[in-house]
Every structure is written in structure tokens, then in C-alpha cells.
Symmetry: C2
Subunit: 639 residues, 2 copies
């Protein structure tokens, strides 16, 4: 299945001298390190990666690949992923010339200081102030309250020398809302915080390795002064007059589409990792069902295991294809922006917001489900799944909280519905809403289980369900005299309508993908099976939606379930090939249970002895705390 080569970058990785890398970037001891040691280990890896990037003259994209291969969150992620893009996207030409060369050489290291203790989703509620002082032509950056403390920015806690700080621009008595400012935080001589700056790490997070390698930070300003020309994207005259720049606001949406598109691709990768581990281990693990003293049944052969695992395998592929499509969407949006065509932006924005939300929520839950599918041994850190879960879940919160994003999608859907009669044609992923009459009337024509294999049948059912749920919401909303009250009151239903819409997008992009040529013998057939698994498992999971909107009958729902069972049997023989096609190295996968050669028990046994607790036969603390118990001396023991 070479055509499914999941990571093109894997090939490039071979050039990174893999054997040496395994030692330099070893991952197996991460969960045993103390916070300080883990952090120092991360600094070491970041330095080594940077050294290699320079030595090998890697392109920016290749450097990004190498960092993702290191697979340990570090300050460099924010420097390259947020600090530099913020300056590039929001800075003037002059600012580019001054700051970018230093940043590219890492003569300065930056982070992105937006979130505060009291405000995350509501960016417009940030409290940090940047007050213009016309006397000195400076901004005074200040943290007026406890809740205005910057909180969470990665790389801020211990490393960054600079930050893009978001603060309320105040000129005179006027509050101009939130803007970005380049602020130096630490001395370039001795790394000590500059006067007026209080900075530190916010402490331990979920998991034992995971994001604890990152110095997520807190930051407070006590009237810190910066020159006027360090405000991004805007211009304030010497006289304190605030003038809008001519950079169109819509450009920000372009960046959002880009960032969220990469998050969807990453979701597919993370999900594929978890599924690869669970699938391989399910083929190794045997339990029950021995007949005449023969081997027991592989757990992957149990229908209960298949019905939980194979839909996740299908989702990994589905998210990959929708991720590919989002890449196209981004280039399309970019071209239109360059031509000053903003017409598709709202739809593209809603679409990427919804897909970011849906794919990351599903992936987070799926990683934990894969852990459960590995039984007891999935609870061991060296299964790779606990750490993968812990390091993945913040994705549901950052770059837009998943619930907040879905509500934005719902709002867009309601707007689209309200304009249906107006002659304004819905575009892009909402185009199906243009066939309102048909979608309200159509009846699913499935009579036998195999009718559910037809893409057109599936697509229509998903379109009708999504549309009818939106229409039902719109109808209920119209009963409220104040639309905002209605939106708030009905928000749980609106979330469900938004999810139905997002699932439709993924299903339809998967079906579109299958209309193309797909190289590799038999590959297309396997992908078709998975596409059906993806759609029908959703249909079964949300059966209530489909039936109560009369999109399908209960009988048709039962037939879909029957077909789904048959499909699982067709996935089974190729399940291992389908996860091998992701092409993850054992080092990258980082899982004893998911190792390629399947020698799971031997490796579990060997790994166990590496735990520091096994350094000595008698544990530290035995003499003080166990011996007095056994010898009945506990009453007089000094504890």
C-alpha cells in the first residue's frame, strides 16, 4: 500500500541519521524524569535539533519536520509557530526588517503572550494595558489586576527573551481594544528578567512527560516602557492620535484558516498513531476462546473490539482526506484574498472552525478509547497512549475552544438558513442547503443492507439530516422575541446541528476523494470500505438524529447496522496493513505495545527493569518506614 505513504516526511527523516537521533532524542525515559530534569532534557534536545538544522541547512519546512520528529513540546514550537508568524502577519515592513533576521537566527527567542489568567476565549476582554505616553513617545505596558497576568504562553516561563504581548491600547482616555506589542522580557546578557517584569512557570500539567517539557509561563508588567515602533500593525502618531492601518482585518482570518488546517492534519496523525498501537496490539493479544488446547483468540477478532477500533481507523483516514482538502481550501482563500475577493471567507472560516473542533474532540476521545482497547497494559506509560493523550488534549482548548467554535459554526448555519429565501446562494460546504426543497422532502430508498454501500445514498442521508436539524433549530429560534436569548437557550441543540454539518463535510470530502484515481493495487477498494465504515458508524451513533428527522426509518437504521457488521469483517484481513501504511517508525511511535515486530511481552519485560524503583532490590524508605511496621516498632518509630 505504498500509495498510502502517510508521512512523506518519513523519507526525509532517513537523512537525519536515524541511529544517532535515537540516542540524542531518546524518548523512553521521559516519564521517569523530574520536572527539572525533563525541562533540561528538552533544552538539550532543542539545542541539538537547532545544531542539526544549521549543519544540514534544512529548509524551514524540513526544520519543522525535524522538530515534529523530536516529538517533545518545546519553546521552539512557539518561537517558530507563533512569534515569527505574528510579526510576519501583523508587523510593518520596517518591523519585519528589524526583528525577523534576529528571530530567524534565534539571536532572540520569542513567544506569543495572549491568554491571561482571567481571559482565554474572550480575547476582547484581555486586561493588560498599553498606554501611550506622548511625552516620551513610548507605550507603558502594565498588569492592572491579578487576572490580567499573562498565563499559559508556551516558552514564556523560563526561556523567551521576547514576546508578542497582547494588550489594550490606551491613548488619552480612549480604549482602542486589543493589539500586539513586541516586548523584551529578559536580558540578552544574563537572561535575568528586565526591570518591571515578573515571569515564571505556571507549574505541572496533565501527564508525566507530555507538556511538562514546555515552560508555559506567567508574566506581569509593572509599568514597563517600550518604544512606539514596537506596536504591531498599527500606527500611533507622536501626538497620540490613533490611526487605523490599511492592512485589511480579513487577513487575520486567512491565518486562522491556515493554523486550523494544520491542526486537522495533526489530528489525523495523532489518531493514526493511537489506532496503529491499538490495532497492532489487538493482533498480538489473545484472550479466551482456546479450542482443544490451541492458541486463544486474537482480541482483534472479537466483534466488540472491531466495532470500537475500526471506526477509529476509518476516522484517521477520513480526517487525513479532509485535511488534504483544507490545504486546497487555504490556497484558494489565499488567492482570493490577494484578489481582494472576501466573498468565501466567512464560509471558509466557519468550515475550518468546525472541522478543527470536531476532529480534535474526536481524536482526544479516540486516543483514550485506543488505550482502553489495549486493556490493562494500555495503562502503562510505555504503551505510549497515556502520554499521547496527555500531550494531545490541549488541542481541544487552544486556537479556539471547541465548544465556542461550534457555536460560531451554528451561528453561520442559522445565518445561511435565514438567507435561503433571499436569493443569496449558499457557497462551499453549505452549498447543499441550496437544495432546500429536495432535502426537506427526500426519502431514503434503502431496502436491503447493501443499499447502504452507495455513496449517493449515504450523502443524501447526511445532507438531509444536517439540513433538517438546522431548519428545526431555526424554527425554534424564531419563537423567541429576542434572537440572542433564543440562541443562548437553544445552544445545546445548535451544537448538535453544527456537529451534523461538520460530519457531513468529512463524509462528503471522503466520497469526493474516492472519485479520484488512487494508485496502488486494491487500495481504493480498502478506502471505500473504510469510507462506508466511517459513515455508517456515525449513522448508528447518531441514529436518533436520522430517525427523528425522518431521514431514515428505524428499519433502515437496522439495515445500516447490519451492513456495518459485514464491513468490519472486510476490514479485519487488512487491518494491520492499513495501520502499517501510516509508516511510523518504532522510535516515533514510542510504544511497546505497538512495536512493528509484535514482540510485545519481551519488550514489556525489558522496559520494566529500567524504572528507577528497580535500581535497588530493597527500596529507598524500607528501613525508615516498612521495617518498623514489620517488627512492631511503629509506635516508637520516628517517622
Amino acid at each position: 500500500m505504498e500509495a498510502l505513504d502517510y508521512h512523506a516526511e518519513e523519507r526525509r527523516k532517513a537523512e537525519f541519521d536515524l541511529e544517532e537521533m535515537k540516542i540524542v532524542f531518546r524518548k523512553d525515559n521521559r516519564t521517569m524524569l523530574s520536572r527539572k530534569d525533563l525541562f533540561k532534557d528538552t533544552l538539550r534536545k532543542a539545542a541539538h535539533a537547532w545544531k542539526r538544522i544549521i549543519e544540514l541547512r534544512l529548509s524551514e519546512e524540513e526544520a519543522h519536520m525535524l522538530r515534529s520528529y523530536v516529538d517533545q513540546p518545546a519553546f521552539t514550537d512557539l518561537h517558530w509557530g507563533m512569534f515569527i508568524p505574528a510579526i510576519k502577519g501583523q508587523g510593518t515592513e520596517e518591523q519585519h526588517e528589524k526583528w525577523l533576521p534576529m528571530a530567524y537566527k534565534m539571536q532572540i527567542i520569542g513567544c506569543y503572550a495572549q491568554t491571561e489568567l482571567g481571559h482565554g476565549s474572550n480575547v476582547q476582554g484581555l486586561e493588560t494595558t498599553a498606554t501611550f505616553d506622548p511625552q516620551t513617545d513610548e507605550f507603558v505596558i502594565h498588569s492592572p489586576t491579578l487576572t490580567s497576568s499573562k498565563w499559559w504562553p508556551g516558552g514564556l516561563g523560563k526561556v523567551s527573551t521576547h514576546a508578542v504581548v497582547y494588550a489594550r491600547l490606551i491613548t488619552g482616555a480612549q480604549d482602542h481594544g486589543v493589539h500586539g506589542f513586541i516586548v523584551q522580557l529578559r536580558s540578552l546578557d544574563d537572561h535575568s528578567p528586565l526591570p518591571g517584569i515578573t515571569v515564571g512557570d505556571i507549574g505541572m500539567k496533565f501527564g508525566s512527560g507530555a507538556y511538562n517539557s514546555m515552560d508555559n509561563g506567567l508574566l506581569r508588567f509593572d509599568h514597563v516602557r517600550i518604544p512606539r515602533n514596537q506596536m504591531l500593525m498599527r500606527f500611533v502618531t507622536r501626538e497620540g492620535k490613533f490611526v487605523q492601518s490599511d492592512v485589511p482585518r480579513q487577513l487575520v482570518y486567512g491565518t486562522m484558516v491556515y493554523v486550523r488546517q494544520t491542526i486537522v492534519s495533526d489530528a489525523s496523525c495523532a489518531l493514526a498513531r493511537a489506532v496503529c498501537i491499538a490495532t497492532r496490539y489487538s493482533a498480538v493479544r489473545r484472550q479466551f476462546g482456546s479450542q482443544n488446547g490451541g492458541p486463544e483468540t486474537q482480541v482483534i477478532d472479537y466483534k466488540t473490539q472491531q466495532s470500537r477500533l475500526f471506526p477509529l481507523l476509518a476516522s484517521a483516514y477520513a480526517f487525513r482526506f479532509v485535511g488534504e482538502w483544507l490545504k486546497w481550501l487555504y490556497t484558494d482563500v489565499t488567492q482570493r484574498l490577494q484578489a481582494n475577493d472576501f466573498s468565501t471567507l466567512p464560509e471558509a472560516h466557519a468550515c475550518t472552525a468546525g472541522l478543527k473542533s470536531m476532529t480534535t474532540s474526536v481524536t482526544a476521545d479516540a486516543i483514550e478509547e485506543c488505550r482502553k482497547l489495549c486493556g490493562g497494559h494500555g495503562y502503562l506509560s510505555n504503551s505510549g497512549l497515556p502520554e499521547l493523550f496527555a500531550v494531545y488534549i490541549p488541542t481541544c482548548t487552544y486556537e479556539g475552544d471547541n465548544v465556542v467554535l461550534l457555536l460560531q459554526v451554528a451561528r453561520f448555519l442559522m445565518k445561511t438558513v435565514s438567507q435561503l429565501g433571499s436569493g443569496k446562494k449558499p457557497v462551499g460546504t453549505t452549498a447543499y442547503m441550496g437544495r432546500a426543497e429536495h432535502l426537506m422532502q427526500c426519502r431514503c430508498e434503502v431496502e436491503r443492507a447493501e443499499d447502504w454501500l452507495k455513496p449517493s445514498v449515504i450523502l443524501e442521508a447526511f445532507e438531509a439530516r444536517a439540513f433538517r436539524m438546522s431548519i428545526a433549530c431555526a424554527k425554534n429560534l424564531s419563537k423567541f422575541s429576542n434572537p440572542e436569548d433564543g440562541f443562548s437557550e437553544l445552544s445545546p441543540d445548535l451544537l448538535e446541528a453544527a456537529i451534523a454539518h461538520c460530519q457531513l463535510i468529512v463524509v462528503s470530502k471522503y466520497i469526493e476523494k474516492l472519485q479520484q484515481d488512487i494508485p496502488g493495487k486494491g487500495v481504493k477498494r480498502q478506502l471505500e470500505i473504510l469510507c462506508n465504515v466511517y459513515a455508517l458508524h456515525l449513522l448508528h451513533k447518531h441514529l436518533g438524529d436520522f430517525v427523528t428527522t425522518s431521514c431514515i426509518t428505524p428499519k433502515q437504521g437496522a439495515l445500516a447496522n447490519e451492513q456495518l457488521r459485514l464491513l468490519y469483517s472486510q476490514v479485519r484481513p487488512n487491518a494491520i496493513t492499513l495501520v502499517d501504511a501510516f509508516n511510523y517508525t518504532d522510535h516515533y511511535l514510542g510504544s511497546v505495545l505497538g512495536c512493528y515486530n509484535g514482540n510485545v511481552y519481551q519488550r514489556l519485560y525489558e522496559e520494566a527493569w529500567k524504572d528507577p524503583l528497580n535500581d535497588t532490590v530493597v527500596p529507598d524508605g524500607y528501613l525508615e518506614y516498612v521495617w518498623p511496621i514489620l517488627k512492631q516498632h511503629i509506635r516508637t518509630a520516628r517517622l
Copy 2:
């Protein structure tokens, strides 16, 4: 709401000298300790707890309370919870006299060595052997394969001096299946492993504190000899003849009912903890919705937050009440066993298996949902939720894997259905199946949203749904010529039928509870509201089940959803009181976000500075790994 005093034991705790305990049993630094330091800290706490237990002459039950208050998994949990009960339950009088006094004084410390690397759920597949040697009147305990290594037993890795080891009894050429044996593992002089014994810790697990305080162990035997009288419950004569003991096999089920009953109560407690944290923080956290410069909206006032949080609050109460009922069931079963009445055992066993599975799965997911409900800050360890999740999830695997247990329930349901025509009346929680004709024909009579508030309406809908799903499964099963093939093929559907049955039990026991007197002004009213929330959120979540079985119409489903929304508004004013009623101390809750006085931001800020990374302003590793980057010396740096 004093009548809802969630923990009677809290009152007793006051006597444990709380202030001192907070220092001795401090929890706030747990996630920052290395594995070795965490383990030593656990030994220290266990010793201190034992000292207090002796000093205060605590009863066994009170000692258990104290240990649960310490809230850190330790070897003592297994010594008291598994080793001693195994000897008590399976040992002879003679064995009791020999071993129990030593165990009660902790002159020996024991664990429960059942699970192996290759076998968990399938206990009958264990590979460790205990071969009787008639020459010496001994058993030879041996690990013949890698997969026969004992793996997971808590307290085994570094502490236990003894273990109850499960092994296949071999006499002559005959294999008598799996039995328990008391085996000494370590010297009582110097704690070193005895000859022929290889023992160690299996390594890091999920989370950073969590179960890493426990020395889950591995164990291999190389022909270790023990006297004949250390086999539990059975008798082997000098001549090697194996004789069944007269202890009835059914007693084992009695113990299972007991253990699973405590797991259900614990699920309620863990869920209540998570809900308490999320509810309190949701009332503190404000985001968006500021009007005219006033404060923003408390997130608990958002319907999306309520629709995710309040069903979990309701579940915490529902699980508490079903747990109370299970306590009664256990005493009933015990009395019947003493009277040699085994008639209710299969039903009681299926019921507790199902409730163990359902409540622990829901609780595990709910803890993570509560973490998400706390937004970004829920990802911080000091929110208490990451560690609560990591320490809770093994419950879904131990004492019966949750999927395996549900399949047992399904099997029992299919058996009950098959006997319906035979005149054998279904008992206990399956009694409703006796009204087969009515449940197949009844029609829900809901016409207005408020009709869904009637307990009889809810109960009938849940009974009809559970029954019809079981009947549908039975019907599909009958199409298979080999029933086992059918059971295997249809197992995903059977799981759903089992879950429907378990949900019915919880709903019906909650309704029964409300038929009793409940002291405290207005308490009953609040509990009624939560009961309706519990039932109607399940109905909404599983709408497909209810509608496709024609138990309710789509219209009635929409009315239930409407009623649910109204109920959320009724829960809101009392939400804080309802979680305060759980009566958790701040120390026990261990959450900055859930602290009683709501001073969340101040505490977050203070806690951050305790992280070891903040010990120094410039982090360890700066000179070696960051300075060379900034100063462009990386190519020549020694990394």
C-alpha cells in the same frame, strides 16, 4: 442540605487531628516528585497512617476511612483489601489461625498475585504452575513461560513479604485448574527476595502522581517450594490425591457482589469530586457577555455548560443511591447464602457486574468531561482533575473488564428472555421482563413537555426500551444455527442492550429512593429535579434506541429535550448547594479550581511559584543549551 451529608466518615475525620494531617499527608507536591521520591513519600504516609491507626485504636472500618482520606494508592490497600480477604474467604480454619493474626498486626505484608503478563480477564488461562511433589509433601511454584510472569499486582513490586499466588494445580499428570497459594516472597530479616524468586516494579503508569505511588509488580518463580498446607481452600492428601473442599463455589460470588458494590459507591464519590470542582469553578469563571462594563457572565449560566455539567451532577446522586441499594442487596445475598438459598445469586451477580461496568465507565469519561468544563486551567495538575482521572481509570479494567462484564450481563438477559415462556419468573432487577406482553405493546402517553416529569412515564419508557432491545437481540440470535457464533457476531448490539438494562436499574432505584421519606427542607424536591435530569438526559443521548423501538415518538423525544432544558434552569440556583452537600474538605478535594471559598485566581498564582522550575530565575541548562543558541555558538557547542 445537611441530610445529604455525603460522607458520614467526614465527621470521624475531624478526630484525626486535621491540621497535623494536612502536613503529614500533604498532597500538593505529589506531581512534582520523581518516581523514587513519590514512592518513598507513600511509604512514609503508610507508616504514619498505621501509627495513627494503632494509637487511636481505630476499628477496621475506621482504618479504611483513614486510608481513603490519605488518598494515595499504597501497598496497604492490597494488604487489607485483597490479601487478608483472600485468606479469610478461601482459607481453612487452620490457615486463618496461622496467617491472619500476623497479617492483622502487619508482621507480614501481603498482596494478591493473580494477573499475568499474558492473562487478565481469562483467569482460567493463567500459566503459573503449582505442581504437587508427594515425595516432600510440597508444591513447586514455577513460571514456565515469559507470559506466565505475574504482572500488575499492587504492593508486589517492592514491599510485600507474602502473596496469595494463583497457579494451576498439577498433581501427577492432571491439571486441576487455577487455585490460590500463600507464598513468602521476601526475607523477613533483610527484605531480599527469597531464592528462586525474581521480583520488581513494572514501571511508570498513566499520570504523574496517580498510581505511580503504587509498586505494581512483576514476579517470576523458578521452582519455588512451599508446604502443602499453604494451598487455599482445597486439600491435597499426602498421596497426591486431589479432593474438592466442601466450601461452596457460590461463596466466591458473594465476595464479588461485595467488592463490586464498593466500586459503585466509589464511582459515585469520584464523580462527585469531579463535579464539585467543575461546578464551583464554573460559578467563579466568567467569560463574555459583559453588558455596560459590568461583570461578564458566569460560565455556569451558559446552557451549553449546564447541558454537559448538570447531567453529571445528577449521575453522581444517581450512582450514590444505586450504591446504597447494592449494599442492601449484598446483605440480602449474604443472608440467603447462609440459608443455602442460591436462587437469587445469578441475578444479583449480573446486576452488580453490570452496575460496576456502567458506573465506572461513565465516571471515567465524566471526570475528563469535568476537566474540559474547566477550560484551559483544568489542564493544570493543581486543578486536581488530571490526577483524579489518571488514578480512577484503572477501575474500568480491574475486578472485571467493563466490556467483558457487560457481555456477562447480556448473556444473563438472553437466558432470562429464553425462559420467559417456561413459567420461570424473572427476579430482582429483571422482574420487569415478566410483564413481557405489556412492555411490547405499551405506548408512551406524553403529550406535553411536563408529562415527562411523571416517574411512572419515565420508568415505563426505560423498561420498554430495555426489554425491546433484549427481545430484538434474542430474535436476531435465533437466526444463527450456532448460538455462540450468533452471540459473538451480535455482541456490539448485545452490549447496547446490556447498557439499556443497567440504565433502567439506576433510574428505577433512584425513583424508589424518592418514594421514601427524605429529611431536610426542600431536599426531596431538588432530588426529584435531578432524577428527571438523569433520566431525560439518557433518553436524549440514546434517542435512537427509544424511537427505533417505538417506545416513544420523535415528537415525544423533542418534548423530553424541551423539558430537560427547563430542568437545567431549575438546577442552576441550587447547583452550588448540591455540590457543597458532598461535604468534601479542600484538602481531600485537592483542587485549586474547586476550593470552597472560590478564591481561585489568587491560589493559582501562589501555587505556580511552588514548581521546582521556579527555584531559580535562570533555568538549569540555560548556559549549556540556550546561551549558545542566542550567541550563535551552537555549531561549536558541546551538547
